[in-house]
Amino acid sequence: MLASSKTIGEKSTTLLVWTAATFIAIPFCWLVGDLLWHGWHHLSLNFVLAVPQNAGREGGIGPILVSTGLIVGVCMAVALPIGVGAALFLSEYTPHDQVSGRLVRGSLDVLAGVPSIIFGLFGNAFFCQTLELGFSILSGGLTLACMVLPILIRTVEESFRAIARDQRLSAAALGLSKKCSIQYILLPAAIPGILVGSILGLGRAMAETAALIFTSGYVDRMPTSLLDSGRALSIHIYDLAMNVAGGNPNAYATALVLVGLLMMINLIASRIAEQWTTKNQLPT
């Protein structure tokens, strides 16, 4: 999109940018290559659907996939509406320097820095014991929602703030109510940002281990309700890699499934984002 001139300075910065990009790509290829190399031949449809056996060394990950889906589903169903609502409030109703906004923002930032294991212990005490949900998919999902909220709210808020002032002013000039201007102008314009926030949040939720060991638990049975304890994919990987002798091959295969799932979610999300932005383009 920008013309590149042929000065030495321009050339060296181009080199710098390409080098940095390669530096990130190398470990990525190494990591994914390693996963593929060790996990690929253990992967089959049967592995994805079957029940784990012999502490996960044999069999598949069917019930674990279902539990993970439910946990992440609960997490996003709770975090997304609250997150977008709070982000809207922070960006549209509180100016940057107002005390209440700064308090909420500051507390969210601190919350983002709370280590996941603390969330796990908190979730265990609050959701499992105080609210008497026990070791369950519900407790796990709610704990993850607490964890994901800060990252979700901050990214969504940034994308609301980035919307040009003109759009708000024109909406106001047309006499749209606040709700309407949010519903028709701001929300659609912020969809890419909301998606980035959701992807980051979803990624963090699906990757989480420490917070789930104490809340959603270790049981690798097929869950029959949200109050059943269910093992998440990342816990399965951790247990196989660190706790079960001979769990490595299945740990690799499970990690591969997890990475593949994330890739699918990303693809779908970016497809939606593209559709939104093309629909959203103002005529020039």
């Binding site: 790509a25 507390s107 603390i118 990624g203 890739m263």
Partner: protein, 295 residues
């Protein structure tokens, strides 16, 4: 400066309900922290009252089973590993965001971004696992023992660069194209446009990205536990093993009883106060950039 938009729209009844439901959301989100803090304080209370705050700095070493609770070396371990990784990851993340938006051919840019999104979602366990079986032996053959501050910093860098990159990228792409067009029309070259126009215009977003990356680096538990050696000491160089506050909790919580357990919650409390300090600094920085910035 951001718009204080309270008074530009009508105040109908729907708006009132709507604004209150949004307010409710943010109050809920904000009060979460109070809930978490009160829980940690409750658990750490025995340590605060019966051991006392000063002993966490003055005791001779971390031997909780022998009633000696010095946390300072662990504190420094956390700061060094998170600091090191943020120093490496910030330029890498920003440059790769710039790469993706301005330098890469469109097809490559799309796949590059997809790759980074994927990298953001790979579980920390997988990073830790990879660090343990690939990175640590590599460092060990270079300079034993292998599990070290360096391994921790590198693993963390790999984990937080995607966060910084993605957020930087989304705020770069929201810089109004008119800015860029006018700059190009004025005859600025590509790098000058990026350096003088795009980065300043998106600095709040970049700061948010760095901040979230730092928060993740400080809070990361399992990956750092697997690669950094976990010895409680002041490292004298990057090949020395270190222990972080989070690893301290994860390693010992499962087996800790009574005061040992309370002392581990103190580790959590220390970590949160560390994050609080960063929040205050970041907020000050943000205010400065907001008012002095281009907007």
């Amino acid at each position: 400066m951001t718009l204080s938009s309270n008074n530009i729209s009508s105040h109908s009844k729907t708006d009132l309900y709507f604004s209150w439901s949004l307010r409710g959301c943010s109050i809920l989100a904000g009060s979460l922290l109070l809930l978490v803090i009160s829980f940690i304080l409750h658990e750490a209370w025995p340590a605060l009252t019966q051991i006392g705050l000063t002993r966490f700095f003055t005791d001779n070493g971390w031997f909780p089973t022998e009633a000696s609770y010095e946390l300072t070396p662990i504190f420094w371990g956390t700061i060094l590993s998170a600091g090191g990784s943020i120093i490496l990851a910030t330029p890498l993340g920003m440059l790769s965001a710039i790469f993706c938006h301005f330098y890469a051919p469109p097809l490559l840019a799309r796949w590059y971004r997809r790759m980074i999104e994927l990298l953001a979602g790979i579980p920390s366990v997988v990073y830790g696992f990879w660090g343990l079986v690939v990175l640590v032996p590599l460092i060990s053959s270079w300079h034993p023992p292998g599990p070290s501050l360096l391994a921790g910093v590198l693993t963390l860098t790999l984990m937080i660069t995607p966060t910084i990159m993605l957020i930087t990228h989304s705020s770069i792409s929201q810089v109004p194209t008119t800015y860029i067009h006018s700059a190009v029309a004025l005859g600025l070259n590509r790098w000058a446009v990026i350096w003088r126009i795009v980065l300043p215009a998106s600095r709040i977003g970049i700061l948010t990205g760095i901040f979230l990356g730092l928060a993740r680096a400080l809070g990361e538990t399992l990956a750092i536990l697997m690669v950094s050696g976990n010895v409680v000491q002041y490292p004298s160089h990057v090949f020395d093993p270190i222990r972080t506050l989070t690893a301290n909790i994860a390693l010992e919580m499962a087996f800790a009883l009574d005061h040992h357990r309370a002392a581990l919650f103190m580790s959590g409390l220390f970590l949160m106060s560390l994050v609080l300090c960063f929040v205050i600094v970041a907020e000050a920085l943000r205010r400065k950039t907001t008012y002095a910035g281009v907007k």
